[in-house]
Structures are given as C-alpha cells and as structure tokens.
C-alpha cells in the first residue's frame, strides 16, 4: 500500500463565506469573500500561490466551464487552475488536488476553492439536470431526497426498526444540527427547532420531511495548503496537518444484485473510511476521532454514515443518535457547526466548509460552538451521488505531531 499523505501537508489558512441566500452576490464575489479570509489567515501574497483547484458541481446555474472563473475572480497570476466536479464531493476533490500538488513537491503553496451559486435557480432544492443521454433513457431522475430516502426503507427492513422509531432517530439528527447551527453566524439556518416541528413537517420523500433535508445555499470555502516546513518558515506555530485523504467511487457493484448490497449503507464510505483510518493510523475511530463533519444532506444519510465510518456498530447507529452520542456535548460531536443541514450546502464548497470547521475547532477558534474537550483529530466526510451510486470522500485532519 502507498505510504499515504499523513503529515506531509499543512493547512496554512482557510476561509469561508457566509452561506445562505446570497441574493447580493455573484459566484465570483463569494469566491473573493472566502479567499480574503483564507489569505489573511495564511498571511501570504497571491503571487506565492503555485497552483489552484476549483470545485463547482452545477454548471448550468453557476459559472460555466473551466478554471478561468476562479483565476479571474481572484486575478491569479496565470497559474494552473483546474476545475473539478465529483458530485457533492467536489469540495474535498479540490482539496485533494491542492494537497497532492504540495505533497508531490510540484507546488509549494496551493489553493483549493469550492463555490456554488444555487439560489439563482428559482426554486428550492438542487437543480434538475441530465445525467447523460444514455442514463436519461433508462435511469430514474429522482430528486436528491427521493434517492436518499430509500436508505430508510432498506435500513428498517434490514435491522427490524419500526417506521416510527427510525423517524424519531432521524428527527433527533436534525434537532441536534439546528441547535448547533443556532450558534454559527455563518450558517444558512440559525434557528433551533423541536422534535414535534421536525416530526410534523410536510413530507418531501417518504420518510424524509422538510426538516430531514439540508438547506441548499449559496456559498464558497477555501483552503491554502503548503508543507509543514514552509508553514513554520512563514511563522505558523500551531499546525493542522492532513492525516488522511481518501476518495472511493462506485463502480456499479451496488447496482448488481449478485453483489449483495442491500440498500442500507454506503459501500464507498466503508471503503474510504477503512483506507483513511489506515492512512491516519487510527485503529479505534470511536475513541480516537474527536469530532466529525459528515455529509448530512439528509438526516438518514448522517445516521447511516455513523455506522459506515465505523463509529457506531452496524444496526445501532440509531441508538447512538437517540442517546446523544453525536450531540455537541456528546462523545463524538457530529456537525458541531450545524452541518449541511444548517450551515447550508453550496455543493462545491461543502467539503471545504467541513474541513474549515474542523480546522477552526482544532485550533480552538470556533467561538461559542467550540468543543470543550480540546480536539486532536477531526474527520470530514463528503459524499456525492445517491446511495446506490456515489463518490465518498474522507479527509482526516489533526494537530501536527499530536
């Protein structure tokens, strides 16, 4: 197995725009907002950036093709700018590009920026779009909630959980994230909700109601990365380094009956998580991971992901959820910033927003929502696609030499 990325790359600075309905800004302005914070944090000049990666998932209502929009928005000095798209995992994909560039020695300092402008579609939820001319003839162009809701039916069938009990567990996921989002000034949704509100909300895709679905937002987030040596040379003392970075893409295995996938979990997340823990040297994630930002596009996704990340035992994730294990004051807080649910989900930015939160938490800079037990190792999980066919990206970051 490859030696991996552990401790080869440090985060020099990060930034994140206010997520939400940014009626006031175009995509390039959101990029500038996120970058300004990151540049100030990193303390570098734009001319020091050697290469850049841009993550954007929805072209049609956004910036159009190529890396040029990032180069133009930030007036980058004619460096290589690569646009990446890997469904909702695009943000972590851009981070991977920048981290790999630094790790290879090809770049001293690299930028990863994710941006999405979703509130120019005219309706809530993700834009309806083609998945290619062949797929469109035989595939179901369901909504994102419809695609993810199917986890619930399969999970109930597999683990013998009643409809009511599972609905309560996923409602708890959302109540927890709203409580966390209320403490986050950059979050799209900053209002706490109670169980009854969640349980009685209009149905979007059975069994997911309105509060089981994350916000769809405008936003941007970015990371500037370099080597630990250069970071120190630039005056950084408390370093956050990349411990693991893994991406797993479906190859159609889940889509074949003989594969044995039962619809109740994410195959790719299990693959990526196992590799990431190995890369980071984590052998007991339930004990070693301090906090998590996972891809809670829907409440059921977060619940199932707790098992796929090997934090909860299979079939017992819903019990941990109801026990408050993942609450802000729980053993392993999950979505301490509000998550996709409340921070918002500007697709291309989300993976970088998760790393941003973990970075702030590790450095003790998260303000009122700061985890009280000082964290040492934080995981982010960024997923794109649907349960039956997806891209799962996991980044583990932690204090250098911790």
């Amino acid at each position: 197995m490859a030696k991996g990325i552990k401790d080869k790359v440090a985060i020099l600075g990060m930034g994140c725009a206010k997520f939400g309905e940014r009626w006031d800004m175009d995509a390039d302005q959101l990029m500038v907002e996120a970058f300004t914070e990151a540049q100030s944090d990193a303390g570098i000049d734009v001319s020091q950036i050697d290469a850049a990666w841009l993550a954007v998932a929805f072209d049609a209502v956004n910036i159009g093709p190529s890396g040029i929009p990032l180069s133009m928005a930030l007036r980058l000095p004619n460096i290589g700018v690569t646009k990446v798209e890997n469904y909702c995992a695009s943000g972590t994909e851009a981070f991977r590009g920048a981290v790999y560039a630094v790790a290879s020695g090809a770049a001293d300092i690299a930028l990863a920026l994710g941006c999405e402008k979703l509130k120019d579609t005219g309706y809530g939820g993700l834009p309806v779009r083609s998945r290619g001319t062949t797929y469109d003839m035989i595939g179901v162009t369901g909504s994102a909630p419809g695609n993810f809701a199917q986890l619930a039916a399969a999970y109930r069938a597999k683990h013998g959980v009643s409809k009511e009990e599972l609905k309560r567990a996923i409602a708890h996921v959302s109540v927890k994230s709203h409580a966390n989002g209320a403490k986050n000034p950059k979050a799209h949704l900053q209002k706490a909700v109670d169980m009854d509100t969640v349980l009685n909300a209009p149905m979007i895709a059975e069994p997911l109601g309105l509060f089981d679905c994350c916000g769809v937002s405008d936003g941007a987030a970015c990371a500037i990365v370099t080597t630990p040596e250069i970071a120190r040379a630039l005056g950084k003392t408390d370093l956050v380094t990349v411990k693991a970075l893994q991406i797993a893409a479906s190859n159609g295995w889940e889509l074949q009956q003989a594969g044995g996938w039962d619809g109740a979990y994410f195959h790719t997340t299990r693959v990526a998580a196992a590799k990431a823990y190995h890369e980071a040297g984590v052998d007991n994630p339930r004990e070693q991971i301090s906090l998590m930002e996972v891809h809670d596009c829907f409440s059921i996704t977060e619940l199932v992901t707790m098992e796929d990340l090997f934090i909860s035992k299979e079939g017992e994730g819903y019990k941990d959820v109801l026990d408050g294990f993942f609450d802000a004051d729980g053993r392993v807080p999950c979505q301490i910033d509000g998550g996709l649910k409340c921070f918002g989900h500007p697709i291309g930015a989300s993976g970088l927003r998760m790393i941003y939160e973990n970075y702030l938490q590790l450095l003790g800079r998260a303000g009122p929502r700061q985890r009280q037990t000082p964290p040492a190792l934080a995981l982010s999980h960024n997923l794109g696609g649907s349960p039956i066919q997806n891209v799962s990206a996991i980044a583990i970051v932690g204090l250098h030499e911790a």
């Binding site: 579609t121 005219g122 309706y123 939820g125 309806v128 779009r129 083609s130 001319t133 062949t134 469109d136 003839m137 035989i138 595939g139 179901v140 162009t141 369901g142 909504s143 909630p145 419809g146 695609n147 809701a149 199917q150 986890l151 619930a152 039916a153 399969a154 109930r156 069938a157 209009p202 149905m203 979007i204 895709a205 059975e206 997911l208 190859n251 159609g252 295995w253 889509l255 074949q256 009956q257 003989a258 594969g259 039962d262 619809g263 349960p387 039956i388």
Partner: protein, 482 residues
C-alpha cells in the same frame, strides 16, 4: 391446415373513473348527461398510450404462446402516438421480437382492428393484430362518459387453432357518423337518432344479415355475437334483426370499461374466447364507414385453460377513482401549474436511442457467459468484480421476470403528473437489479420485498419536440397475476 385464431390477450388500465364523478363536475353545464352518468370507464394513466397498452395486451397473449413464432404484427388504432414513425415498430421492440418480422399500423376508422384481422386471416401468419385506443373527448361531452381505454391482441394463423375461421364479409360506405381530421384533438359527431337508424340498423345490421347468408348460416347458428356498439340496446336490436338469440349477444362492457374504439371489437372477441366452449360459433362485427363481419367456430383446443389475465382478470384488478381533475390533467385538458422542475429539457438523441433500443425498449440486459452474472444494462466489462470479464455479455431479456423491491421512496419533490412518484431498486428473480419507477401504485402497495412485474410505459414526454420516450416501470403484482 385450419386457419383461425391461435391465441388472444387483453389489457385494461387499472383505474376506473366513476362516471358519476364526471357528471357531478359537469352537471352545472351539461345536466342532460345525467342519464349517462352510471357505471365507470377504464382510464389509462398519464404514462400510457395506444402503444404501451398494445404492448401489455400482446404480453398477455404471450403468457401461453411462444412469441418467436410470430411472423407479423399489426397495431390498429385511431389514436396512434406517432403520425410518421412506425408505432407497431415500437411495439415490436418492446416485445423483443426478432428484426425479421412484418409490422404495420392500421388506422382510419373504428373498425380498423377488424379490418386488420380480415387481412391477417387471408395470409399464413402467425400474425398478431392488436387493437388499442386511448380515447380523447371534450370535457362535458357524452363521448367523455361513453369512452374507455383498452387494448386487445389476437394471434391468427394456421395450425392448432382455438377457433377456425368460417368467413369474413366487409362492406364499405362513407357513412360519417363522426369524424376527426388529421391533427384534430376531438371527434365531431352527428345526431344519434340518425346514426342509429341509418348506420347501426340499416348499414351494420344489413351487413350482419348479408354475412350470415354468405356463410350459409342463420342467426340461430350463432352462439356468441360480439357486436361492437356500446349504445344501449343496439347489439340486441341488430341481433334480433339477424335472427340471433338474445342470450347470444355478448356484453359490450359499457358499464365497466366504456367504448374502447379500435380495441373494442377485439376486446369483445377476447372475452368471448375466454368463456367459449368447443364447437361454438362466434360472430365478430366491427363498425366504421362500413362494417367487417367475421365468424369463427371454436375447436377442442379452446379447452386448454389459459394462463393469461385476459379480460376477466383485468376486470377483477381495477381501482375505482373519482378524481376527474386528474383525468383531465392527464389528457392534457387542464393546464395545471407544474412548477419549474417540470421544465427540464427531455430531448432524445435519435442516435442514442437506436444504439440502445434493445435495452431501452425491450429491457434486454446482459448475462456474463463466464460467470452467469446478470446485469442491466449490458457493458463491455461485466459488473462482477471477481471475474473482470470483458466482451462476455449475452442478451438477457428481463421484461418477463418478476422482481422484488429492495429500496423505495415516495418522492413528492420530483415533478410527476401523478404524484408522489414512487421508485426504488428492484431485484429480478434470476439476477439483475434496476432502479425503476413504480407504476399504478399507492403507499399501501409498496414495501421492501414486495413482488413486482415490469410494464412498458411512457417515461417522459419531450414537449418541445413532441416526442414520446418509453421505458419500463415496475408495478405491484396483484391478485390473479400469478
């Protein structure tokens, strides 16, 4: 070698719109419809048309008949989705028939299916004639109440026939009881008293009498008379005129199905064959700018109990509905606000459809010759990760295989003309998995493990270019569909 009927099948859509609900909505405007407001009419869902219903009727026929024997098929309909694209060609692809097969469309009158049958019986066959119509009428018209949607398929040819042909007799005269010009949406009809006296009694009744005389039969020889007019009392009156016993007059399904146009004579014939005993003479009479009269005599082969659902089976699996507004919306007669999600461009590249026609229209997947792994769709490198087999995929039809639900949801966010849209992953018996939309179902029909069967349906409509896209959906297996 005897010439006659080899097999039959039928399809009636699941929903039955209550005529009382139609009348209740329109009574303020058309109180005169009260007398016609009894019973129900078979109502195709938004994702059905003359092509999809024809496919289902043919599949019903194929329940106990080897489809590879079919040499030709004719789709008879006055509501063909395409004016210039072989509609029967779509049916052929959906039935996964081999390319060397004859296929044509027959249209132009309410008797186009009986006319197609007359032509088919003059050849060697085996030739399948499918009558299929999705009727369209103006709201608050008598036709809206009287009509229904259905399809029926009759396979004719030589060999061990279940009913041998005694003879055919056709007359043609330009009697315009109603008409619909090319491109027009609705029929324009003339006074019913004139139609009854000049059309039904003289023209149609005369043709029946002439036919019997030509075949050296008397009315008393006829055991079942399928006289395809749903106007109350007309079949009985024409039978009496021809000396046919009142008890021989077949039900026209006016109370439960309605007048299904081109499909109706074949639907009546299929129902008659379902109940027939050996050595019975069945008269089939189709009317429209003239008449086609066919007389058959059943053979001992009729005794073999058919596995098909048939007319009776479809009658038993109906669902009553009072939702008249949904019916109007599905017929394009009510312009509901559909929201921006309905705006997605549905353009169908002709090249892609042609390359993938077996998968898309025929639901033909692949089976790895090396591992036996079944998948949909086929791919150059098989999906089985243990084999890494390349170029080993053989055609593997999935349409007739039952499946079970693995995952599902009821999606209220995605645009559907019949919300919420149900879909999920299904596993086919014998292998293969598909994420499919579910057709004709409600929340009580769906659970993990529920048995499903595949149905050929409209996937979506490209409204910008007026093109219908077809694919397969999964429907709950209901009682009788063993």
């Amino acid at each position: 070698m005897q010439t006659g009927i080899l097999a039959f099948g039928a399809y009636i859509p699941f929903r039955r719109l209550q005529r009382s609900a139609v009348f209740a909505a329109n009574a303020w405007f058309a109180p005169g419809l009260k007398g016609a407001a009894k019973g129900e009419r078979a109502t195709a869902n938004w994702d059905e048309d003359a092509i999809t219903m024809a496919v289902e009727a043919a599949r019903d026929l194929f329940a106990d008949t080897d489809r590879s024997t079919v040499a030709g098929l004719t789709l008879a309909s006055t509501t063909l989705p395409f004016a210039d694209r072989l509609n029967a060609g779509v049916v052929k692809e959906a039935l996964n028939l081999p390319d060397p097969v004859f296929a044509s469309d027959q249209t132009g009158s309410q008797r186009c299916a009986t006319s197609a049958l007359v032509i088919a019986l003059s050849g060697q066959g085996p030739h399948m004639v499918i009558g299929s119509d999705l009727r369209k009428a103006r709201p608050a018209s008598e036709a809206e109440l009287a009509q229904g949607d259905a399809a029926a398929a009759i396979l004719v040819g030589q060999g061990e026939v279940i009913a041998r042909l005694i003879g055919t007799h056709s007359v043609t005269t330009d009697f315009v009881d109603h008409f619909r010009s090319s491109g027009a949406r609705f029929d324009y009809g003339w006074e019913s008293r004139w139609i009854r006296e000049e059309g039904h009694t003289k023209l149609f009744g005369g043709a029946i009498k002439d036919a019997l005389a030509r075949f050296n039969l008397t009315g008393a020889d006829i055991d079942v008379a399928v006289i395809s007019i749903t106007v109350r009392g007309v079949p009985e009156s024409l039978a009496k005129q021809a000396g046919i016993r009142p008890e021989a007059v077949a039900d026209t399904f006016s109370a439960e199905v309605g007048d299904t146009g081109a499909a109706h004579p074949l639907l009546g014939l299929a129902a008659a064959l379902e109940k027939a005993k050996p050595k019975q003479k069945i008269l089939l009479a189709g009317f429209g700018q003239g008449a086609d009269i066919l007389v058959f005599e059943t053979t001992d082969a009729i005794l073999h109990p058919p596995k098909r659902l048939g007319v009776a089976g479809h009658m038993a699996r109906s669902q009553k509905t009072d939702n008249y507004l949904r019916f109007l919306f599905h017929r394009g007669l009510l312009d509901l606000e559909r929201g921006m999600r309905a705006e997605m461009d549905q353009k169908q590249p002709g090249t892609t459809l042609y390359r993938n026609r077996k998968a898309v229209l025929g639901l033909v997947g692949g089976r790895c010759a090396k591992t036996g792994t079944v998948q949909f769709p086929k791919s150059d490198i098989g999906v089985n990760p243990n084999a890494r087999a390349q170029g080993t995929q053989e055609d593997y039809p999935l349409a007739e295989r039952r499946a079970k639900i693995v995952t599902y949801t009821a999606d209220s966010l995605s645009y559907s003309p019949d919300p919420p849209v149900y879909y999920g992953a299904i596993d086919f018996d014998g292998g293969g998995r598909l994420v499919a939309e579910f057709a004709d179902c409600a929340s009580e029909d769906i659970e993990v493990g529920r048995e499903m069967r595949m149905v050929f349906r409209i996937k979506t409509l490209d409204e910008m270019r007026d093109f219908t896209k077809y694919f397969w959906k999964a429907a709950p297996v209901r009682e009788g569909e063993a």
